[in-house]
């Protein structure tokens, strides 16, 4: 099975072969490196840009104005903060011009903690991004979704931000991408650039096929009755594991929803599940003041107050300026498995 980052690479390859992608660019995106996480190795339209995030976003917008289909990368979302006003402009071009101009750009950027990245390789970005009206924001938690969301991001004629969970980039999926070889070692031999000199290397692309994960569609990863868990990105597999362990140890079953799209989000699936279970925990790792989860929580309270059997909960990152390098910081700043498990168990057991 492909890793998440291999899935992104396969999607970009499919995009430039079949979906009209003209430019894949950013810092170290082109040869020889092909991206600091290898997401862009071997792609024929990949090129290296100056170390200039604002230039990257602006150039992507210009390419889109002139009919190109760009996928640009900000190397780490931690370095996207100086582009916020440009992201705002990219998001408002259609609205501001009353439909005169579309802005079909894809911006991908690794987000979140989990690689011992210290202050500036551990930030989360989805809460900031969720405030950018006009953008669509997605965050996959596995390889197949990464592939399907990336293809949708490319095809969608609006600006779409693909947040890639850093901690999961090297995690293998458990479902095959359509057209992917069965043997992961064979896939690696085909599309991973060799270490060292790779000037003569060319990838052997498998014949991957079209597969869209529609934007705004969540996935019910586990089905149950004790409570609803809503998450995405790095914390999603932790929620699944916590739910499975609580099922095994205590017999609790949970609806575990992988939101996949931050905006638009799959409100019908969340609402149905909350109405059914009456209990909800939202888990993400962004900081806790004005966290995107608070928006979901507000809607749950507004629209399902009388369905709730226990207080709705939100587990998230601490409101501190960053994540320190020593693991005592990371372990105690953003949600980890034991904390998620405890919160879920407490939620399932709470009796009014």
């Amino acid at each position: 099975m492909a890793t998440l980052v291999q899935a992104v690479r396969l999607a970009l390859h499919y995009g430039e072969q079949h979906l009209g992608v003209t430019d894949i660019f950013g810092e170290d995106v082109g040869p020889p490196l092909g991206g600091v996480f290898t997401a862009t190795q071997g792609l024929k339209t990949a090129w290296n840009s100056p170390l200039d995030e604002r230039g990257i976003v602006g150039t992507a917008m210009g390419i889109a104005y002139a009919g190109g289909r760009p996928v640009c990368e900000i190397q780490f979302c931690d370095y996207a903060f100086n582009t916020l006003d440009l992201l705002k402009i990219a998001g408002n071009q259609r609205w501001a011009s009353a439909g005169n101009f579309d802005m079909p750009i894809v911006l991908m950027t690794p987000s979140g903690s989990g690689i011992r990245g210290s202050l500036y390789h551990s930030h989360s970005f989805e809460s900031w991004a969720s405030r950018l009206a006009g953008w669509k924001i997605v965050m996959p938690s596995n390889a197949l979704d990464a592939y399907g969301l990336m293809l949708s991001a490319i095809v969608d004629p609006n600006p779409v931000m693909v947040l890639l969970p850093k901690a999961l980039l090297r995690v293998k999926g458990d479902e095959l991408i359509p057209g992917e070889p069965d043997d992961p070692d064979e896939l690696a031999r085909m599309i991973d650039a060799p270490v060292g000199d790779r000037s003569l290397w060319e990838p052997q692309w498998p014949d991957v096929r079209e597969y869209f994960v529609p934007l705004g569609s969540a996935k019910l990863v586990r089905e149950g009755s004790a409570a609803t868990v809503v998450s995405y990105g790095r914390t999603l597999p932790l929620c699944v594991q916590a739910a499975d362990e609580l099922g095994r140890d205590f017999g609790f079953t949970f609806d575990v929803i992988d939101l996949r799209s931050i905006f638009p989000y799959d409100w019908p699936m969340v609402a149905r599940s909350v109405a059914k279970t009456g209990r909800v925990l939202i888990v993400n790792e962004d900081t806790e003041v004005t966290n995107f989860g608070e928006h979901l929580l507000r809607r749950i309270v507004d629209e399902h107050f009388y369905d709730l059997l226990a207080k709705p909960r939100l587990l998230m990152g601490k409101h501190v300026p960053g994540i320190g390098l020593n693991q005592v910081y990371e372990q105690n700043t953003v949600p980890q498995l034991p904390g998620i498990r405890d919160a879920l168990r407490e939620l399932a057991e709470e009796r009014v």
């Binding site: 003209t22 430019d23 840009s49 100056p50 200039d52 604002r54 230039g55 976003v57 602006g58 150039t59 992507a60 917008m61 210009g62 390419i63 889109a64 104005y65 002139a66 009919g67 190109g68 760009p70 006003d85 440009l86 402009i89 071009q93 259609r94 609205w95 501001a96 011009s97 009353a98 439909g99 005169n100 101009f101 579309d102 079909p104 009206a133 006009g134 669509k136 293809l151 949708s152 095809v155 969608d156 004629p157 609006n158 869209f212 529609p214 934007l215 705004g216 569609s217 638009p264 989000y265 799959d266 409100w267 019908p268 609402a271 809607r299």
Partner: protein, 367 residues
């Protein structure tokens, strides 16, 4: 100049007995026909700017910003643009002092006023944006944004596609002198000059020597803004933007170079700012700055290319055109409650929530 320039005392006359074939500035000339075309668009631009300022003062509009004092340079630019849609034509990344460019390109006055009057018929923003914030797909005029200098970041993108497409289409980006303090200006220099990937960008700075209330000389050194091209071995020129003859030829030289060489050019035009920054600073006429319209009028009269009566008629006609545009635009429909969310998203076949336009937050009935 010994003769009085006072228009009210007597009609001005040229000392020449026969009409000239050309109008001269230094060693450069323009045909009388072209000079009169430029002058007419300059007069029209000035008339509309002055009428727009009046609207902002009378309360018919909330806010005015524009480019009185930039007419000479902007009209010369507008007339030399290769107008059309797609990479074979020129892309325009403009700022909010660009009326002269657009009127010279053929924009009906009423469209400019519609945006000022915030009507539903405003073709650029449906009454959403400030005046002069054009967005015209048919002419490659990408949306003007109030944010200073960001247009310089987008220009390399359109130019990159143009270079790839072949042909002689170029990308024009303009802005003021104060905005060059933003890193985005330097980004444009850098991205347009990547070795082996030089781009057909005509970078323009209309230098009015102010950023709102701050004189440029208190922030920048004495070096010309055009000199910033030196660091990139890039062609550059500074021109008197109050002189339409010099401006016409400077733009012509720059455009010819960019079209043929597929490399960037930085053109700095020294211009006036005749009504201050915007209505926020009163928009009062500043009589101490050079007026390009008055200057060119005198030159045309001196060359016997036009007489005072013709000038008066041309100005009256321009005022009437502006007045008619205001009368029409202010009588048109305004946006309604239903417009608030319109045009947020383009229809998408891969979006489960918003397959068509945006209708507010996702709801239970979304699917």
């Amino acid at each position: 100049m010994s003769e009085s320039l006072d228009e009210s005392s007597r009609p001005r006359r040229s000392k020449l007995t026969a009409a000239s074939l050309a109008v001269r500035s230094g060693r450069e000339t323009l045909s009388v026909e072209l000079a009169l075309t430029l002058f007419r668009h300059m007069v029209r631009t000035r008339a509309l700017e002055e009428r727009a300022i009046k609207m902002s003062k009378s309360g018919e509009a909330y806010f005015w910003i524009g480019g009185p004092g930039e007419e000479a340079f902007n009209v010369c630019l507008g007339l030399q643009v290769h107008k059309g849609a797609g990479p074979a034509h020129d892309y325009l990344h403009l700022h909010y002092r660009s009326l002269g460019i657009l009127l010279a390109m053929g924009l009906p006055m009423v469209d400019h006023v519609r945006q000022l009057a915030m009507t539903a018929t405003d073709p650029f923003s449906r009454g959403r944006n400030f005046v002069g914030h054009y967005a015209i797909p048919a002419w490659n005029v990408v949306p003007v944004t109030s944010v200073i200098e960001v247009q310089y970041l987008m220009a390399p993108g359109t130019a990159l596609i143009q270079k790839r497409a072949g042909g002689d289409g170029l990308t024009v980006v303009n802005g003021g002198d104060a905005g060059t303090a933003e890193g985005d200006f330097e980004s444009c220099l850098l991205w347009s000059n990547r070795p082996g990937h030089e781009l057909p960008v005509l970078m323009i700075v209309t230098n009015n020597q102010y950023g709102i209330s701050t004189p440029a000389k208190t922030q920048f050194g004495d070096r010309r803004i055009a000199d910033r091209a030196l660091a990139y071995d890039m062609k550059a020129e500074t021109v008197d933007g109050n002189d339409p003859i010099a401006s016409w030829h400077a733009i012509d030289r720059a455009m010819k170079y960019v079209r043929a060489e597929r490399k960037p050019f930085l053109l700095e035009a020294m211009v006036s700012r005749l009504h201050g920054h915007s209505s926020s600073s009163g928009a009062q006429r500043n009589w101490s700055e050079t007026d390009c319209v008055a200057l060119f009028e005198q030159k045309l009269i001196d060359a016997n290319a036009i007489d005072a009566d013709q000038v008066r008629a041309m100005k009256a006609e321009a005022k009437e055109e502006a007045e008619a545009a205001v009368v029409q635009a202010t009588s048109e429909a305004k946006p309604t409650l239903q417009d608030v969310e319109r045009f947020t998203y383009c229809a998408s076949k891969v979006d489960a929530v918003y397959p068509s336009d945006y209708t507010g937050l996702p709801t239970q009935n979304a699917k």
